[in-house]
Symmetry: C2
């Protein structure tokens, strides 16, 4: 089999971790005779923006469209406002390609310790299903009375039945398919009194079709606290765009940090390419030093393999990450070692060849 991958290394540490990602694609072809990736790299990032006045060419989306998958490093650089770099690259991809599921495992890998006292692997293993196309990230809104004391900004959160149903249904289906019994939906219907009660209604409606799954609606404030105090209470968590964003960075912190956390921006129907990316940003503070952790990228590629139907291979890649962590000899600084990005990547690739 043959898959095509569009690779957007991006800014800051993005290219550094993506270099490891590219070697991994190569290695997969090497060890698995019947599978290969053709990767094409796209130089769309903040430097590109400063040269061309846009984050990607006018036909950027059309050029990505034919690929099976997209791999993204990280986007964002000092000097380019985030609401430009993100709104002209990441968000248009997520939306145009109907990647309405942002899948983010919160799992403490073997070999690592949680910063939470008394919480081990058995307490930290769940998945967050984040809505990825609407909600609080709507780009609808604006300002009035600019430059006067009466100036104001308005931002609209838009929740459609269509968009809400499909993400909640996906979360229930995922719970069912993976034999999980508990689904938690993040809400804030006590404070946010139009969109969130609507969200709650749809959660309740859909839950009726899944009588074997125990459904709870928990306010985002309490839920954030529970991620610290009782993370073992969760199997599948479904959340709006913003709430999912917050919960998954927090989740990453409780399982050892952003250097590890992967994500998939998934179009479940496979009508369009899905995109896989580490959830960390471009980290300008450590960019160029070659010390970023490539595990989030490697794990994202493992999720990509799952998505492509190569579950065994996906599992193997994740196993190799864990085996190297258990051995404990090679670690980047964020997880307590002194290894470089390249050394960490090589150790995992070596493990892959050994298996």
């Amino acid at each position: 089999k043959y898959f095509s991958a569009a690779v957007i290394p991006g800014d800051g540490i993005g290219p550094e971790v993506m270099e490891v990602g590219m070697s991994l694609l190569q290695a997969i072809g090497d060890i698995h005779g019947g599978l290969s990736f053709e990767a094409e790299s796209f130089p769309w990032n903040c430097r590109y923006y400063l040269q061309h006045g846009r984050m990607m060419p006018e036909d950027g989306l059309e050029r990505l469209r034919p690929f099976d998958v997209i791999l993204l490093g990280a986007i964002g650089a000092p000097g380019v406002p985030d609401h430009i770099s993100v709104w002209e690259l990441i968000l248009p991809i997520r939306r145009s390609f109907q990647q309405y599921v942002n899948l983010r495992p919160i799992k403490l890998l073997r070999g690592l310790e949680s910063p939470l006292r008394g919480k081990g692997h058995e307490h930290l293993d769940f998945v967050v299903v984040r809505e990825n196309t609407e909600g609080e990230y709507s780009n609808m809104g604006g300002r009035l009375h600019v430059g006067t004391p009466y100036e104001m900004a308005m931002q609209n959160n838009v929740f459609t039945r269509y968009g809400t149903e499909r993400i909640i249904r996906y979360a229930f289906e995922l719970a069912q398919a993976t034999g999980k019994t508990r689904l938690t939906a993040a809400t804030k219907s006590n404070g946010i009194n139009h969109s969130m009660p609507f969200w709650d209604e749809i959660v309740k409606e859909i839950s009726l079709h899944y009588p074997n799954i125990q459904t709870s609606l928990i306010h985002i404030d309490a839920l954030a606290a529970f991620f610290v105090s009782r993370p073992e209470a969760f199997d599948v968590v479904v959340a709006s765009n913003l709430f999912g964003d917050i919960l998954t960075d927090l989740g990453a912190a409780v399982v050892g940090g952003l250097g590890l956390a992967p994500s998939g921006n998934i179009n479940p129907e496979k009508t369009y390419p899905s995109m896989f990316e580490p959830i960390h940003g471009s980290a300008p503070d450590i960019a160029g030093r070659g010390i970023a952790n490539p595990i989030a990228t490697i794990w994202s590629i493992s999720m990509m393999l799952d998505h492509l139907g190569e579950r065994e291979l996906g599992r193997l890649v994740l196993d190799c990450i864990e085996e190297v962590l258990v051995e404990g000899k090679v670690r980047t600084p964020d997880i307590g070692g002194k290894a470089t990005t390249q050394e960490m990547g090589k150790a995992i690739l070596a493990q892959l060849y050994r298996r």
Copy 2:
């Protein structure tokens, strides 16, 4: 001196913890000859709603208006949607009385251990200044195409220059007055592209007047992660209504739980009464069992004393809480003991009489 307090015990564990609160007001009068409280109790809660079809009488706000302060237990009960109980009681009070500052200390008390490995008292001592009157809790919005597949809900986030400036200025003033050097503003201007860039602009404008304070804007997702990975990085955190809500529940979790976390809804100009309340909810699951932790309420009363200018007394109350915790004999179940609400309250009151 004489102060008047309107007391709204509310629902669930609210009345249980507020009973301790009332004894504390009494005790303060006893030990401090020159000070007394006249407390009047108001039975406005979900039971009241079920009887009268509203959370408080039509002239409820007028009746609260003359008091120096308001003490609230907790609001919310199964059977009454939160967006009613909250929107007809707590939120109108916060808004009508221009309690635009929601002040929430995140501080690990002596005698307690953080659930975060390796984080002690020296790492966990900051304050969150939450905007309390506008932003994401705007009640502006609605639905369209109800009952069709095209149904949608819209919710407007409203950020005014007036509302944003006053909360950010308050946060800087607080930092300055308390000798703190770092101010962190929560944002999400990379994803939320109208209101949050506006917020950022105002933070930057105001920061120019405080050259001695080191100001950072951090995205809410990263900030939530930092509350776990490096809470020692914060002195004063200023956040919008929703972000402050999420951060403070999370903050409560990292310093030992919601049973401890106090808050003040403050009208700094003292034109209107300010309101003090534990940040926990009515906790229907443990209501009626007499095991709720009254410390959040007692600490809220300590904050109330600060607000009334009785800082020494406020400090004394907080000291007594800590002394009882350090002794460690009396603890409610949420902090690892077997004491009842009453026993916990009595131990702290006894300490107050001893001092």
